[in-house]
Amino acid sequence: MRIDFLYWEECPSHEDALSRLQAALAEEGVRDEIIVTHVATEAQARALAFPGSPTIRLDGRDIQPETATDGAGRLTCRLYLLEDGRPSPLPSREMIARGLRTLAQTTKEVRR
């Protein structure tokens, strides 16, 4: 599985988000390496279609595609909608784990 973690250092939640990603991977028994990318320029943000910091992609799929609104990509902080509807700059561990489980399930179905 390809695990991308993209961040812009001006958004302070990226360290907590990376810790949550690491914890979710450990919890789900995923041992693949995290590819960490620091998005530093507007040009890089556009090239990566970066919707904001932090962003987590599992095999290229965003863990919350419905809030990855800016398809053009730009340097900004990312808003997530938590399970209880609250807005947060930080994805929840459950959100990340759900993304991992969904991907594992899809992969299993494709192999059948």
Binding site: E10, C11, P12, S13, D16, G52, T76, C77, R78, L79, Y80, R86, P87, S88, P89, L90
Partner: protein, 176 residues
């Protein structure tokens, strides 16, 4: 340079989303005035928004007023335009004025760098507290230190807040 504790309020005259213009004199006589750098697009603002609204409602009857200022460049962040500010204030029923610092001179005068970033002034309009609303933007139930609330309590009681300064955590102000 950022305004330091005990320094006097920096004046401003800015348009609000309610169609009125505001300056520090608009709040003459109130026991405390919080000038809060704010915007629409920032997820940290969104995460703290309901808590800040609730605090204003709670402390209004004790003579405390908040005023929000958006200094972001709307050319870079269209969600922070004056029209979008007006919509947000209406949608959320903001119980405080929401002002637009189009020239960004007010943010520069305060030395503000983030949204949200609170500058709380006491009755003499000297800076009593500067920083974040509390120590947990992500989860209101997990807040351990209610910096702003504690500072409000101190200022209303005529005491010096402790701490008087915390790091502002949020988005950077988007300069032209």
């Amino acid at each position: 340079m950022t305004l330091a504790t005990h320094e006097s309020i920096v004046s401003f005259s800015l348009p609000g989303t309610d169609g009125k213009a505001y300056s520090p004199d608009s709040f003459a006589g109130v026991s405390a005035l919080a000038v809060i750098f704010w915007c629409n697009h920032c997820p940290y603002v969104r995460a703290w928004e309901d808590r800040v609204i609730a605090l204003q409602r709670e402390y209004a009857e004790r003579g405390v007023h908040f005023v929000l200022i958006n200094s972001n460049d709307p050319a870079k962040y269209p969600e922070d335009s004056f029209d979008k500010m007006t919509l947000r204030a209406r949608e959320k029923g903001y119980p405080f004025p929401y002002l637009f610092d189009e020239s960004q001179t007010v943010a520069r005068g305060y030395g503000a760098t983030r949204t949200p970033e609170i500058f709380l002034f006491d009755r003499d309009r000297e800076l009593a507290y500067h920083g974040a609303p509390d120590d947990n933007y992500d989860d209101p139930a997990a807040v351990a230190h209610r910096y702003f609330r504690d500072a409000l309590e101190a200022v209303v009681a005529g005491r010096t807040p402790a701490p008087a300064e915390t790091p502002a955590r949020g988005c950077t102000i988007k300069w032209r």
